[in-house]
């Protein structure tokens, strides 16, 4: 369990399935999260996923539930592709429920995840993909220290048109430099 200023990252539990399914099925979440067809998922899919996840539990697939400090589940974050040899991890995050957005929960959770990846996984680079129309997310990622490395033009067909996708990343040396700066400030 990793605790930040506003949220906590904890393990996924069987009983989370229903609330996670509900959060993930919000339109605002699924249109922003994946390049696949934006479709709500049946609860059964979440439960099957949990079975597989616990059966195959290993270090190549990391997921955390995000909860506020008072224990309300608000979203999830984790790793996609982990490239141990090239020392690069692709990550994803979502915060469900409109009332939990724009409160700094996502940024705080992302900081904890990035911290875990650099401090425990011994990685050199963390990257993510974000849709250009998801401006709030881009702002949040920049706050945590990610920079836009490139724009994949017209990569995503959504809502009747092709949209750009940003690639953002943070390197270990940038993360360390920012942390050093923070320590100096204290």
């Amino acid at each position: 369990m990793f605790t930040g200023k506003k949220v906590r990252l904890r393990e996924v539990r069987k009983e989370d399935a229903e609330v996670i399914n509900k959060l993930g099925n919000e339109e605002e979440v699924f249109i922003n999260l994946s390049t696949r067809l934006p479709m709500p998922k049946p609860l059964q899919v979440e439960e099957n996923w949990y079975q597989e996840y616990t059966k195959e539990y290993n270090e190549d697939f990391i997921q955390f539930v995000i909860e506020t400090l008072d224990g309300t589940v608000i979203g999830k974050c984790g790793t996609g592709h982990i490239d141990w040899k090239n020392s690069c991890v692709t990550i994803w995050i979502f915060i469900g429920n409109p009332e939990n957005r724009s409160k700094g929960y996502g940024s705080d959770a992302l900081s904890l995840l990035v911290n875990f990846i650099f401090k425990e996984m011994n990685m050199n680079r963390v990257q993510l993909y974000v849709f250009a129309f998801n401006e709030r997310a881009v702002t949040s990622y920049k706050k945590v220290g990610f920079v836009v490395e490139g724009i994949q033009k017209k990569e995503l067909f959504r809502n009747g048109t092709y949209n750009d996708v940003y690639i953002m990343s943070i390197l270990k040396r940038e993360y360390d430099a920012a942390k050093g700066g923070e320590a100096d400030a204290i």
């Binding site: 390049t35 040899k85 090239n86 680079r125 490395e149 490139g150 017209k154 092709y162």
Partner: protein, 181 residues
């Protein structure tokens, strides 16, 4: 012709290609420009396995990989689609010229043009993209000749020769491909 360019002809792989492929994949100059994994020595058996995997994948019509022959029938490399995103109509492609004799002579560029023609004119994709190690300047020049433009430089994305190198993402859109045709 559908699978022919000025210098090359693209065709399906056969088991006769396995032996020359082993030599290609054991050539450091070739493999260090092709794959971001640590290069493992290859044998006839490991290549055969790869060929079999490829044939299995081919049945789904999502990924495919073709042999590149010169016009007089010499097998010199391969090219194809690593990942086909059918909903977004984006194909991620890869290519290699494995026979050093044919590097830097326009064979790769010609093969890529044939592949682009197939993808845009037959497969109905909307975008073709690829990743290239930023140190592979010869390949980058070739892709630019085919109309690819740089979309992103992924910093420190491959560890090789003792340090981190950038990876370059390049792409060409349907409207760009058809503009001059």
């Amino acid at each position: 012709m559908l699978y022919s360019g000025q210098l090359v002809h693209l065709r399906a792989f056969t088991d006769d290609d396995i032996k020359p492929s082993v030599e290609f994949m054991n050539d450091a100059e070739i493999i260090l420009n092709l794959d971001d994994d640590a290069p493992m020595p290859q044998s006839y058996e490991t290549q055969k396995e790869w060929f079999e995997e490829m044939r299995k994948k081919k049945k789904t019509y999502k990924d495919f990989f073709w042999a590149i022959d010169t016009k007089d029938g010499k097998f010199i490399g391969g090219c194809g689609v690593n990942h086909m995103d059918r909903k977004n109509r984006v194909a991620q492609v890869g290519i290699f010229i494995g026979d050093r004799e044919y590097l830097g002579k326009g064979f790769g560029t010609d093969a890529m043009m044939v592949l682009l023609k197939f993808l845009f004119e037959e497969y109905n994709v909307h975008k073709v993209k690829l990743m290239v190690f930023d140190y592979n300047k010869r390949a980058i020049r070739s892709y630019e000749k085919c109309g690819f433009q740089t979309e992103a430089i992924l910093r420190d994305s491959v560890f090789r020769f003792g340090k981190y190198h950038d990876m370059r993402c390049m792409a060409i859109l349907k409207e760009e491909y058809f503009k001059d045709r």
